[in-house]
Symmetry: C3
Amino acid sequence: MITVRKIAEAVDGHLFGDPDSVIYGVCELKQGKKGFISFIRAPQYHQYFVNSEATAVIVNESFTMETGSKTIIRVKNPVLAFAKVLEMFDTKPVIVPLFHKTATISTNANIDAQCFIGPNAVIEDGVTIGKGTNICAGSFIGANTLIGVNVTIHPNVTVYHNCSIGDNVTIDSGTVIGADGFGWITENKKHYKIPQIGKVIIKENVWIGSNCNIDRGTFMDTIIGNNCKFDGHIHIAHNVVIGDGCLFAAQVGIAGTTKIGNYVTLAGQVGVVDHITIGDNSVIASKSAVMQSVNPGSFYSGIPARPHNERKRQDVVIRNLPDIAKRLRLFERKFEDWLKERD
Amino acid sequence: MITVRKIAEAVDGHLFGDPDSVIYGVCELKQGKKGFISFIRAPQYHQYFVNSEATAVIVNESFTMETGSKTIIRVKNPVLAFAKVLEMFDTKPVIVPLFHKTATISTNANIDAQCFIGPNAVIEDGVTIGKGTNICAGSFIGANTLIGVNVTIHPNVTVYHNCSIGDNVTIDSGTVIGADGFGWITENKKHYKIPQIGKVIIKENVWIGSNCNIDRGTFMDTIIGNNCKFDGHIHIAHNVVIGDGCLFAAQVGIAGTTKIGNYVTLAGQVGVVDHITIGDNSVIASKSAVMQSVNPGSFYSGIPARPHNERKRQDVVIRNLPDIAKRLRLFERKFEDWLKERD
Amino acid sequence: MITVRKIAEAVDGHLFGDPDSVIYGVCELKQGKKGFISFIRAPQYHQYFVNSEATAVIVNESFTMETGSKTIIRVKNPVLAFAKVLEMFDTKPVIVPLFHKTATISTNANIDAQCFIGPNAVIEDGVTIGKGTNICAGSFIGANTLIGVNVTIHPNVTVYHNCSIGDNVTIDSGTVIGADGFGWITENKKHYKIPQIGKVIIKENVWIGSNCNIDRGTFMDTIIGNNCKFDGHIHIAHNVVIGDGCLFAAQVGIAGTTKIGNYVTLAGQVGVVDHITIGDNSVIASKSAVMQSVNPGSFYSGIPARPHNERKRQDVVIRNLPDIAKRLRLFERKFEDWLKERD
């Protein structure tokens, strides 16, 4: 439990009401609970303020309602402030440095002493791991891979050999980094493997969700830029190069050698074909299939993906298609009748 | 090997023919084998009965053919009966209670003695596990997670901290329960993490296939209702609430805070966007993208998903589109010609 | 480092230039580097030859440019030759036979001495493993499964009981073989499990990427033919039978009991419904949904999938739809006006 005063200080907000109210946790505004704190993201939710049972509410500067018995904390960005509050109430277990006795660690690995190497983790020859990094239970780090400082690799992750993972990266469970890209050359109905000898390079502050695949390059590298955030079940093929700050939602797939710019947003289940480019700051709507390169700043949707406004217009017409077909049929008939009648 | 009499008893059926026939296993009707038992799901398969080599066949009450030398077992629901027969011939290994010596089990965990904790399984502090539960090889159960009775967690599953898994749940390999939801707030091109401090709550009799992700809630919980059955590669985002008895086929993805009613069927590769509701008993056809809330009892399909009948009509017209475009062109020309001619 | 002479010998090519040039690695042609070797896949890349800094270039028989100071190696198939060169420069760790002390190996398993059983691998009762096979760290092989010779199962793979994996198969991390298929029979809103007692049979020379699922059959088997190559995140449901030499890109899903012929190519994110057949040598474009059986030699695309040429024609018309709708509207009006005027 924390006083509202402490919370206001932490989020750098202006407090109105009783600073000594005690807060036990967070709640939704509508399903507010006594002793809990909530927030208002946008003016359309102001209506739920009066009847909420929440003891304290974080609001933005446009909020002007009577606060009644509630305590409010006024901030610039309530979502950002609330994120800090969530952190204060997070009960996730703290990981302390330890090399677990069941871990299999190569004597040729170079691991900072301030690391956690969990139960049954495997660290192969030539691996380097920086300070404050956690390699959790059952994770595998292949030979000669470099891992920076303050990295967390959750349980049951697999990182193949020769990869590079930057500082402050988080990788969720089940993810596979550095498996061979899908490279085959077919001659006379026989598929010959193209060895994949490039790396995966993940830069700094990247978050990769659970059960993702990021394949190693053929001979150039697969690169994930700084500050990228990936949801789960994402597939990144060989030689893909992704810029900084991209946000990819779940089940996105990007085919080989495609280049994604900076701050690109791909919504859920988007597919992107191979050997194309998506320009900086583009947004692709969910379930789209990007079949051709996309200019910077585009908003595309559909299969194949096209400018979203064009796609929406089409969609309206497609809904009316049965009607259009019928009108054409009737019109043709009318004209024919008219012609006949006229004769 | 089992006698037909025993099988008839197990499925509560009426036996016609030799009750002492010995059955060695199950077979398809068309590729029937002597000494094996098959079944007839629906009248259109009756035609394969006569030539089948199967020794015994489970049929329903509408079956009236001459049985010849075959033994038949008449039941109300042949598929349900055959499911029981499959169980009788299942050769999957039996798991016996044991705490494997290579498992890493916190001394603060509370595990019923009648459990199987497999090789290299990791059970963290404060975990509770009920009677008859199997935590198979390499699986990880995070701190303070509660697991009910008769649960089977297959090898290499990861369950994060503070989750709750009800009685009689099965989770297949590679699945990840309770990783952080995909929550970011972007300000000045910087993505700030929104801590995910809610839980995943999986109620009773749920089946979750392999390599699924079920993310923990932001501060409310992600909830999977009783008797839900999920195929593999399914992605359930944070704060999603799913009712009872839902069936989701492989590669389905549900985005954040969406609410799914009871007995909803989602076919393969369906995507559902965030913050919407799918009403009870709805069915969504494969590969659809549900972009708006759906009323109870709906049957939707397509991208974006729309009522299936409407979608089918559209689809017919879309197939005829090149023809419609051509007819319009010809018609316009014809009219122009006619006008000219007339002048 | 390797001399160009050695490379020319290995790829069975004709060398023009200095055979004693020393090569340190491979490079792209455009971003060529001194001391590195590149290749030219097709005539349209000949233009980059002159300015490339590469020391040596592998070309095909149609290449007729002045070579200048560069060394060239002329071969029939430059991609195939370059694949051999990549192998020469591959630095992946060599795996040597060893039963790691942390592995849990049943005394009833039958494992050739020339195998690698990695840290924390688990081999259950009745498993047979052939010579030269690697079961890497954390992988689980269920009871009575048969694994051939020269198989590599990368870390954190799960193979359930009673499966069969042929010679020279590779399975990447996170993949799950032999989990139960998704079989349920619903009666009075209760879902009864249909036991899945069939196997998964993977024939020879198959490659399966990371985080794939291949479910076991209900009572017939799920079968993957010889020389199939699967990318990651692929879902193969129960009873699916796949012929020889198929290539499936990432995130493909195939529903139950479907039959895929030989040499079928499925591009990324393709879905195939249950109980249909895709004929030999067919190609399905990315993101398609195959809803009906497909004849051999077909090239299909779209949702639902249709012959690609038909689909392309439709797509052009769909793009023009808003225009077509407008033209029809104007035309109807014009005719009405004309009729009125005429009266």
